[in-house]
């Protein structure tokens, strides 16, 4: 009975001073409130990154801090790969050697005459008063790993801002175009492969110069887009860069046409292509320097002014 009398007395004093829970009940805001806060924040970040691309600086800062950790994780993976190489049998290496020798011999003819042909080309262009083809500096880089993002196709290479790599540069290997640098970090950079669904590259058909755009189609394939059903494209055609974008040098091999579906119920033909370069392979790549797009000619301005003037005077 005695304690029961005590309790109302305590409660009445608490009622005067205001009810405060004991400290072990303090758990911060309610879970739903916290959920709403974090979900809103995450959605804002998503929109800022996807729509406005304003988070590249923050991304670079975090990536720079994270790089030593990633490098440390990469070491055992590289070690395992090297151990695998060491134990790979002699036969496969010999086969590869024979293959490489064969390719070198096949290209020897072109390689030996390349300097001569370039000289000749320059002289002819000078004769025709055409603009000189610009040469760009190249930088060899090694593929470190494929990014662990199942929704896109990107690789990380071991050169970055410190080596003069900028986003937008083209990346090639010994067979053709691999992709484009989309993000440059201080020591590494991220290359989006041509087979990524959001990656486009302007090309022309090597056989007849028909211009088009190739887009990644997912699962390692590519698609030639927006060509009418009666376009002059055949299976086996080679597609090379057209150089119209001002990023890729013209004439780099990109893809080979595999199959064409000319269904007249659609306005465009469905043309499947396969990349020529070892896009999904590991190894070395070349990063081409930024290409300076040729300047627009100024001549056409004056005749147009003249014609306008002429018309006005005629009126």
């Amino acid at each position: 009975m005695f304690p029961r009398r005590e309790i109302p007395a305590v409660m009445s004093t608490a009622g005067h001073t205001g009810h405060t829970p004991p400290p072990f009940f303090k758990r911060g805001p309610a879970p739903l409130a916290r959920l709403a806060f974090f979900v809103t924040l995450a959605l804002l970040l998503l929109v800022a990154d996807l729509r406005f691309r304003t988070l590249e600086v923050a991304r670079m800062a975090v990536a720079t801090v994270l790089w030593p950790l990633q490098k440390a994780v990469l070491l055992p993976v590289e070690g395992a790969g090297e151990a695998g190489n060491y134990f790979s049998n002699l036969a496969s290496l010999q086969l590869e050697n024979v293959e490489l020798r064969k390719r070198q011999l096949a290209q020897a003819n072109l390689l030996l005459r390349q300097a001569h042909l370039e000289d000749e080309n320059r002289r002819l262009r000078a004769l025709l008063a055409m603009q000189e083809r610009l040469d760009v500096p190249v930088r060899a880089a090694e593929i470190l790993y494929a990014a662990r993002d199942p929704f896109s196709r990107r690789i990380i290479i071991d050169h970055g801002l410190n080596h003069g790599i900028e986003s937008g540069q083209a990346v090639i290997d010994d067979l053709g175009v691999v992709g484009q640098v989309t993000r440059a970090f201080p020591l590494t950079s991220e290359v989006t492969l041509l087979t990524d669904k959001n990656q486009l590259i302007p090309v022309q058909v090597a056989r007849n110069g028909l211009r088009a755009v190739v887009a990644g189609a997912g699962s390692g394939a590519m698609e030639l887009k927006f060509l009418p059903a009666n376009a002059d494209v055949q299976p086996g055609d080679t597609l090379v860069t057209s150089g119209l974008d001002g990023i890729y040098l013209p004439g780099l091999p990109v893809a080979k046409v595999i199959s064409i579906d000319r269904n007249t119920s659609f306005s465009f033909a469905r043309i499947d292509c396969a990349p020529l370069a070892g896009v999904e392979r590991h190894g070395q790549v070349l990063v081409l320097g930024k290409r300076i797009a040729p300047e627009m000619p100024e001549e056409p301005n004056e005749p147009s002014k003249n014609t306008v003037k002429g018309r006005r005077t005629a009126k």
């Binding site: 924040l41 959605l43 800022a48 993002d149």
Partner: protein
């Protein structure tokens, strides 16, 4: 006070904060290993996050999920906020269900964890598909199934420090 499950009678030592966060950091480092496009590699961090949200809902929650999620977003080169959003929802669900899940034996706990992990993967898939990415194939969901297989060993590894005796007895070292 703290038991491995509510139905067990074994009393554990209280979890140490530094060990909880150390295990989350180790899971983060495991997530950084570049496996490329190999399917079925478990999302170590999601698994560790679910584990601690179920066992220590007052110590680990949505804040940790959000912060580490952003770090993984940068490391993977995915969209900022993709993992953060998925992990926040995962931590909320796991924390809310922790009172229920701990009543079950470990094998049935794993069955509860599976839909949570699949849900987190589904959230990420929806975000990326809405942004116009390619569908990675059904094998993408395989990683959750492999992660759930690890739930039983994870229980031993992460609860090991709490299984030690309060007073160390030289004659009975365990």
């Amino acid at each position: 006070m703290i038991q491995p499950t509510h139905s067990s009678r074994r009393i554990l030592l209280p979890a140490r904060g530094w060990f909880v966060y150390l295990s989350l950091c180790v899971a983060l480092v495991l997530n950084l290993i570049p496996f490329g496009r190999l399917p079925g590699i478990p999302d170590w961090f999601a698994l560790a996050l679910v584990f601690w949200c179920i066992h220590q809902p007052l110590k680990v929650g949505m804040g940790a999920g959000f912060f580490f999620g952003l770090v993984i977003d940068v490391a993977n080169g995915s969209v900022m906020g993709q993992h953060a959003l998925a992990y926040v929802l995962l931590a909320f669900a796991a924390g809310g269900l922790s009172r229920r899940i701990l009543w079950f034996p470990v094998a049935q706990q794993a069955l509860h964890v599976l839909p949570l992990l699949l849900g987190a993967q589904l959230v990420m898939l929806l975000i990326r598909l809405a942004a116009g990415a390619e569908f990675p194939g059904v094998l993408y969901f395989l990683s959750s199934f492999f992660a759930v297989l690890l739930w039983h060993p994870l229980n031993y590894v992460l609860l090991l420090p709490q299984y030690q005796a309060v007073e160390r007895d030289e004659n009975r070292p365990i």
